[in-house]
Symmetry: C2
Subunit: 412 residues, 2 copies
């Protein structure tokens, strides 16, 4: 049994991170992840889920005439996954799916001898600068916390569990956030909006590989990970990137819920960040816009609960628990991933605009109810029609997202 973590432990205390880990907590096995279950569990796998995956491998040329689900939309969505797919598929013959079931492994050895020692403070400052120059939108650091590491991986070759091996001596986790394209997210749900997901993974893979290779070149260990190896969300919260939201996503002060997270496990001595709280929990208690909007009813109304809804949920943590089965079922039904909850979340705004920074500040106070109604009145997370995206009209259909800069240097 692994229970809660107090302030005396090495890492962040659960109270500070806003976690309520109970005595019956159990580490998660990736075999129970709903995506893995869609390979081995006949209660999840069906004709629709098969088609869902097949059309990522080969673009549809005809599915339905619906706006956002045409050949052009699938052509772009699948292309956006391409770089991520290259890494994932590279070692399939060795029973690896890098970035999804196994860590990214396309790395070169570092030098035989290590760096002239830097202090952890210097290493941390340099590492964050390096992550930034590689294109990371957010970077945070937290102590290695085994509770969030999967008990086992899933083998797509055998359809069964396999060991989740990590090298010894890992002490820190560098958590990296990549923001997703705001205009594409506005078109959710659609195959087109899935482009934001694919681009997010492709960029995440490139940034994680670059930063991990930098750490290796300094003479230390670095294991870059996307969906494999460990749960990203508690690590991102411990690393101070944001707070947990009703929709089960991390809400960040910089991008709201419009992010993907990757992480690098390392033994490079680093200084950890502290969790940040800016009023999300209290806001989500009042707001259930995502729960209302979810067509699969996968997002809970009401308060946090300590019960996993099904085997794809986490046992022994009191939290808002999303129903992964219902969520994935909807993805299969519409034949693309869905991001309605990201689009609809009132925190998903363009914080380069002063008005939105004011909104965020007041949403963290007792005025949160007013801020919620204000967001409603101003259109909330209104959907952008995919055809309007293709017609280049995103900037003429403004919302709480910014239109693209009129000085954008790309010639059109």
């Amino acid at each position: 049994m692994i229970g809660g973590r107090g302030a005396d432990d090495d890492g962040v205390a659960d109270a500070e991170a806003g976690f309520e880990v109970l005595d019956d907590f159990e580490r998660f096995s990736q075999v129970d992840d709903v995506f893995c279950r869609s390979w081995w569990d006949e209660s999840i796998r069906d004709e629709r889920s098969e088609r869902f995956y097949a059309t990522y491998r080969r673009p549809l040329t005809e599915w339905r005439r619906a706006n956002g689900f045409t050949q052009r939309d699938y052509a772009l969505r699948n292309a956006s996954w391409h770089v991520s797919d290259v890494f994932t598929e590279m070692y399939e013959d060795r029973d690896r799916r890098d970035g999804f079931l196994d860590p990214l492994s396309m790395l070169k050895d570092g030098p035989d001898t290590g760096l002239v020692p830097e202090s952890p403070e210097e290493s941390t400052r340099h590492l964050k600068q390096v992550a930034k120059v590689f294109g990371a939108d957010l970077v945070g650091i937290t102590a290695f916390d085994e509770r969030w590491v999967y008990t086992e991986r899933f083998s797509s070759t055998t359809g069964e569990a396999k060991p989740n091996d990590l090298p010894d001596g890992l002490t820190s986790v560098v958590v990296i956030g990549q923001s997703m394209d705001p205009d594409l997210i506005r078109t959710a749900p659609s195959a087109l909006s899935g482009t934001a997901t694919g681009l997010g993974y492709s960029q995440d893979a490139a940034v994680l590989l670059g930063v991990a290779q930098y750490i290796r070149n300094l003479g230390y260990q670095a294991v870059p990970s996307m969906n494999d190896t460990a749960l990203a969300i508690p690590l991102a919260i411990q690393a101070g990137l944001g707070e947990y939201g009703r929709h089960g996503l991390v809400i960040t002060p910089e991008f709201g819920a419009r992010l993907r997270f990757g992480k690098i496990f390392t033994d490079l001595p680093l200084v950890s960040d502290r969790p940040r709280s800016f009023g999300v929990k209290e806001f989500c208690e009042q707001c259930d816009r995502c729960a209302e909007a979810c067509p699969a009813s996968a997002i809970p109304h009401g308060g946090p609960v300590a019960v996993a809804l099904n085997r794809s949920g986490l046992t022994g943590v009191r939290k808002w628990s999303v129903d992964g089965e219902a969520c994935f079922g909807y993805w299969s039904k519409i034949n693309s991933d869905c991001a309605i909850c990201v689009r609809i979340c009132p925190f998903t705004r363009d914080y380069s605009k002063p008005v939105n920074r004011w909104w965020r500040r007041l949403a963290g106070t007792r005025l949160r109810g007013v801020m919620l109604r204000l967001d409603d009145r101003l259109g909330g997370g209104r959907r952008l029609k995919p055809n309007d995206w293709w017609a280049g009209l995103a900037s003429r259909r403004p919302s709480r997202w910014s239109p693209r800069s009129p000085r954008s240097p790309v010639r059109r």
Copy 2:
């Protein structure tokens, strides 16, 4: 013999592009490229050039104590190349070096049947939007022009020429520009500044693969190319991305000379762009800042000439001709690539600042001499010390580049 191209031809007339192609023009063989010669030509290859390449493969842990050439600088520089290297090294056992000696080949097949036809105007608008969402900083289109296609490729396995095969029917070239990190370029020359080059290639590879896969998913051919297959510079100029400068680089209105170019050869019907002229030629005639600053004296003073300086130059084009042998010799000597000419070029400025847009406008008029002196007086392309970059002081050492936004979302 292939001479100049008139206004009657299908593509852009040479006069409009500012090209002077003479009767003795000869297409270039990549075997004569100075990088290829450093593999096979004993007059180029020496101990220094060997070390130059070796330290890209394995980071130095000790070379010299000089600011910008420490283990940390090489650790970062090599990591920045990592994603590009993955693609380049993937098929070495098939005598391919993708992106350098051969086109990028990591692509999936498109569908068996093509798209419901779009007009070339629609395809062009959509393609530019797609390139932008993939992260392209500039995109232009020009007609396929065989003159700039290499007569042969170089095989790193045999050290000899091999055929430069392209599929039949290619009609257009999509030229993509990736801007390089401004703060890193400010530290040139250094191993640290080579990070901007590596990141540029890594990003270029990812963007080219994504956009090419999109075109394939529409049912058309797409051959993505970095340094392989054809000369990028005349294609970028024909595609309207910028003008030719004294340093042999394309000067763009958006980023000055701070760019890398990739290109995609395709048969997707597209509308070509026209060349743009904004006074660069007249400016470079007066300015020889890059020629003065080049430690290898590889950049010419005076006017354009029609003679290739050595076998790595192009025959039969009157232009400012850079001495590739001298340039590469300096890279070998300092053991990293050099970008002094990019840094020093007065057009390399941050054009998000209104003052720099005004400077550009006036530099295209008879006031160009005044603008040149003004740039001198205001510090020109002053070098940023690599240690100051690592200390995060770039924004406190302003120049005509912008400091990074103080609202940068990365937490440090």
